[in-house]
Symmetry: C2
Subunit: 120 residues, 2 copies
Amino acid sequence: MHDKVSLADKFASFDDRWSPKIVGELNGQHVKLAKLHGAFVWHHHDEEDELFLVHRGRLRMEFRDRVVELSPGEFLIVPRGVEHRPVADEEVELMLFEPAGTLNTGNLRNERTVEQLERL
Amino acid sequence: MHDKVSLADKFASFDDRWSPKIVGELNGQHVKLAKLHGAFVWHHHDEEDELFLVHRGRLRMEFRDRVVELSPGEFLIVPRGVEHRPVADEEVELMLFEPAGTLNTGNLRNERTVEQLERL
């Protein structure tokens, strides 16, 4: 039986950025928490839609043709195949929903790729 | 392309209780918002795990052998097959994450069942 998860407690338990942590699993999907600061790489996911929900701070999701700014309590779903780049001018805390096995850098493998995600 | 969703705006747009609204879809899963007040029926889901994240208020999730109390910013995953009963002594606002097609009453069909979910 799973126990409840406090987002605040989980976010307080790590400091490293750009390294999503798994905090829940259901129906083949993962719930992840991440802290971001700065700009990520442009990428897309061939097979996975991704949900980004802001917990604290602000996230700017850049697309090739527009930008979406997210504040706490706002979420955005990025459909598979759509190129995007998350940017945070100040640190942002995010909750992610996506299929288990989703690679943070999507179609790329580079120095920003995290192959093995920590579980909190 | 999906637009961003404000949880506060969506919750402000409806008043009816026990009637989950679909606010997002990804990877065959639905993101739903619901307002509850009072006690629901005991039920389980044969094939679906369910995530309950409290946005406002408090939720008491009763199991046959224990109770879990959830405050804002806390979530709980109820695995498939596990009997549960959501109870809210005062109104609670919830975000749900579960497979598309999940019936709110799980293995039961009764007067609490909502067959067609509204999309906000």
